[in-house]
Amino acid sequence: MNANDFNTPVPNTWCPGCTNFMILAAVKKAMADLVNEGACKKEQFTCVAGIGCHAKIYDYFDINGFYGLHGRVPPVMAGIRLANPNLKVLGFSGDGDALAEGMAHFIHFCRYNLDATYLLHNNQIFALTTGQVTPTSEPGAVAKSTPHGSPFRPINPVVLALESGATFVAREYALDLQNLTATLKRAMKHKGAALVEILQPCITFKDVREFVKDKMYRIEPSDLEGALKNARSWNYTKEDSIRIPVGVFYETQYPTLEEKVGVKVWHEAYPERPQRSTEELWERFK
């Protein structure tokens, strides 16, 4: 099995050259590898997508898919995993999706330590709505809803994930296919909440490809304190002096929500539930 086995017949509508193409390639490659390694069957992969350019990925690979609402990827992942802990769930969000509309779920996903891989396509812009600032846009950013400069500071999703309890936290660059694929595989193999932030420059509204490439350096996983230090070393600003850490920040083990709740594949355990008479059930109210 190779990446192309995940292709779909749907025409791709990303801008020609969009960095999302590389993320798509990396995910397909990672999935193919996992299948080849026997870690997982193709049928188990299940994608959950938000709304935005990133989310169009739903149409572009032939795996189970839930194309949800803007910002609501984490609860859908939770529902799927609580209903069927055999599914290998991959969530796809944008920075607007995960950190503006969906911030509450983002934090709680990490806290729950849900066993799923959450990919954050961070292009520091609302792309599909033609370019407005997001929670990771740099201070003063000029965009369509902030023509006089953004009044907001960026927030750091890697730091938030670490502080909220995610048990695997990484950042990669969309155009570094090899590292991205490797990290995605690691994330998918991880048991627990795995966040992979992917720097995904939008070539139409905010082309920072050169900037990111220049500033990037690889880090190694460390303990939580070290991971936080690494994470905090770049706060999404665009000064010349900054450096951007990429790689796996942190990995640890903790029981997952599914384990704690004690779930099973309900529809397989009970293809049909036993019919219970009203009398049987009401007995306790006699």
Partner: protein, 546 residues
């Protein structure tokens, strides 16, 4: 023959428990009891009261005036003394027609102070001229404290020397079930084979969450409280996609946050039962009081156009049956089932003696996915067979308009095809609802009372006291799809139509007119947060049909 009992005291004094014990004792002898709970939005220190109607005939509502009241605090006495003909008070209270020296009794029996309540129950039994046997049985509920409470009850019985107005003994009556609407809904969900219940607490939907959480290990399903209602609704759709049989529950404010996800239900066609228990609105409103003012919102919630069942049972028994129907419909037709109750139905206790089984069985009904599975296959009936992901094929669910595979599309012909599929499904589904007795008719008169939901109990109680040859009650258990034919049939030849609703604007009148063109002659509404009683309906109907 009936008697009304009022039990009132401070929040935290165990009012609800006393009322429940009393009610249970009566049901054990075959009486019918209806229990109304009135409590403000606070935890301790305010006033709670319960109104119990105990009758030899079925009852479904309370009254605002009691034959006997028990007042457990001064504040309760001062506030509610006008609600009763006769007041039994405890030693803590100044005033009342007869005082039970509860402190003496607890001292004498060595019971904890809280057990003083039980002495008043003993007294009540004396006041209605009954022996205490059923009360003693009901006190078993106190577990290891049962015996001491029995002693206290006995002392109370002995101590009472006030007036006695006998309640006829009910012999031979089969002991009924004494149950709240909430419990009935929870059990209905279990009967229907639910796998997962997601919720975020909100009065008055919370009791269903509590009961379901309590029973989850016994029946092997799971109850999960998530971070907020938006998460709840989206998680439920995720779980439904993955093959589970799911339900969510909330009140109006929570439902208002779920509109987007419910719209997603509409286009993704993932089975979902959403339980709404209404309270007095708008916004936070009067959170522990009742009302039916969310109905138009529920009927129209979610942007875009999609079919839904809006199911409005009228009492506990029906709540159980209709809950099973809610699951049946959503699984069979992939439409949203909105199961609607209100504080009055959810938190009141009903006595039911006969328990016919639900009209339908809910089935998960999953098919096996094929290799090139179409999640949105166009079929003759408009219903796409549902499979779960994980074994075969590629399963899809989406918030975008899509083709039969679930891929995103934007072209006119495919949009039309898919909208038409869903339209066809809506028609198929409508026919199925028509088979579920969405309309019930009681009585035979030409003056019609038309209503839905929790008003059923009060209206049936009123009907028993009205001239049944002149009055008829048409009860709707489904408001969507609107059972037009059956309603028109039931209203044929009506001299007057009176719509009854616990609301400001009587939405029902507009709904009727929208679907049938029929204009109601009168509306009876109530919007002070309190439910109707049988007596209120009797008075208002008499005025209206005079």
């Amino acid at each position: 023959m009936e008697k009304v009992f009022l039990i009132a005291g401070d929040a935290g004094q165990g009012i609800a428990k006393s009322a429940e014990i009393l009610a249970k004792s009566f049901t054990k002898r075959g009486y019918y009891v209806f229990n109304y709970r009135d409590y403000p939005s606070l935890i301790r220190g305010g006033l709670n009261f319960n109104m119990l109607k105990v009758s030899t005939d079925p009852v479904g509502s309370h009254e605002w005036k009691a034959d006997y009241a028990v007042f457990l605090s001064q504040q309760a006495f001062d506030t509610h003394k006008d609600k009763t003909h006769f007041a039994i008070t405890t030693s803590e209270v100044i005033g009342g027609d007869f005082q039970i020296n509860t402190s003496e009794i607890v001292q004498k029996t060595g019971a904890p102070a809280i057990a003083g309540n039980t002495a008043t129950l003993g007294a009540l039994y004396k006041a209605i001229g009954h022996d205490t046997q059923p009360l003693m049985e009901a006190l078993a509920d106190f577990g290891k404290h049962a015996d001491i409470n029995r002693k206290v009850a006995w002392e109370g019985f002995q101590a009472y020397t006030g007036k006695t107005t006998p309640l006829p003994q009910k012999e031979g009556g089969k002991p009924g079930y004494f149950i709240s609407g909430s419990c009935a809904i929870a059990l209905g969900a279990i009967a229907a084979g639910m796998d997962l219940y997601f919720a975020y607490p909100m009065t008055p939907a919370t009791p269903v969450l509590h009961v379901l959480a309590e029973l989850e290990r016994e029946f092997d399903y799971r109850t999960v409280q998530l971070e907020n209602e938006i998460a709840v609704a989206n998680a439920a759709l995720g779980a439904s996609f993955a093959g589970s049989n799911v339900m969510i529950g909330t009140s109006g404010g929570g439902l208002a946050l779920m509109g987007e996800a419910l719209s997603l239900q509409g286009i993704s066609e993932l089975p979902l039962v959403a339980y709404l228990s209404m309270r007095t609105g708008p916004a936070t409103g009067v959170p522990t009081y009742t009302g039916q003012g969310d109905i138009k919102f529920a009927l129209n919630i979610g942007h875009g156009e999609f079919a839904r069942a809006v199911i409005v049972p009228g009492d506990a028994k029906e709540a159980h049956e209709r809950t099973v129907e809610a699951f049946y419909l959503t699984r069979k037709f992939r439409v949203l089932s909105l199961l609607i109750s209100d504080k009055h139905l959810s938190e009141s206790n009903y006595t039911h003696d006969s328990l016919p089984e639900p009209r339908v069985n809910s089935e998960r009904g999953l098919v096996k996915a094929t290799d090139s599975h179409m999640s949105y296959k166009i079929t003759e009936e408009g219903v796409s067979p549902m499979a779960a992901p994980g074994v075969n094929g590629t399963l899809r669910a989406t918030s975008y308009e899509h083709d039969e595979y679930g891929y995103t599309i934007e072209d006119e012909p495919t949009i039309l095809k898919m909208v038409n599929k869903r339209l066809k499904k809506a028609r198929t589904f409508e026919q199925a609802v028509n088979k579920l007795e969405p309309v019930s008719v009681y009585g035979k008169g030409k003056h019609v009372i038309l209503s839905w939901g929790s008003t059923k109990g009060a209206i049936l109680d009123a009907l028993a006291r009205l001239d049944q040859a002149s009055v008829k009650f048409v009860q709707l258990s489904y408001l969507a799809p609107f059972p037009k034919k059956q309603v028109e049939e039931a209203l044929k030849g009506a001299k007057t139509i009176t719509a009854v609703e616990n609301s400001v604007t009587c939405a029902l009148a507009g709904i009727l007119k929208e679907h049938t063109g029929l204009e109601v002659d009168h509306t009876i509404v109530k919007y002070d947060g309190r439910p109707f009683t049988g007596g209120e309906i009797v008075n208002k109907i008499r005025r209206v049909i005079a």
